[in-house]
Point group: C2
């Protein structure tokens, strides 16, 4: 991971282990974070497909506009549970969720 990417993530509140940590650990951290980012992107995509504003969608899941914004932005304060529940609420299937989780539809941070 380059300096710029790391900066970007740290801005979102992610506390990453020291660069001296051995690589495997960092890889696991990254895999986890990338999954959340992927789910956030998907959330945005599906919400927009349904022509819902963040506020409208927030109402639907008993949350708030700001939290929806954070979900889509990959904020570190957002749990996997919330992301997945939200996607299900949008009618996304387990199969589609699986595609987001999977490495294959990757995109660099």
């Amino acid at each position: 991971m380059n300096r710029a990417s790391r900066k970007k993530l740290e801005a979102k509140g992610w506390r990453l282990g020291d660069a001296q940590d051995f690589l495997e650990l960092t890889d696991k951290e990254m895999a986890f974070i990338e999954m959340k980012l992927a789910l956030g992107r998907d959330l945005k995509k599906h919400r927009q497909l349904k022509r819902l504003s963040q506020a409208a969608f927030a109402r639907r899941i008993n949350s708030s506009q700001s939290r929806v914004a954070k979900m889509e932005a990959g904020d570190a304060s957002v749990s996997m549970d919330l992301l997945i529940k939200s996607l299900l609420e949008l009618g996304v299937s387990r199969k589609e969720l699986a595609r987001s989780i999977d490495q294959s539809n990757r995109r660099t941070v």
Copy 2:
């Protein structure tokens, strides 16, 4: 969902919506819970493949034996985040995680 299954889940601490709720909602609840159960089963499988006791694995992820037991048992107090981080720690790939998330390797509760 039948009465026995519901009882089983409620024993694990899951608070399910009233049966009068319309079906779609219940389906989403169930999809979410089934995902967690699937991840828990996978965790157990991979831990055993590596011949680790719950206590030994717990040490590796800075957790405790009791929490690992809860993860594997599908306890409601366990987050998706913890399940997924734990699976990654066991060396499970995103692709394999995706398979658990996916409906296809389903098993009734």
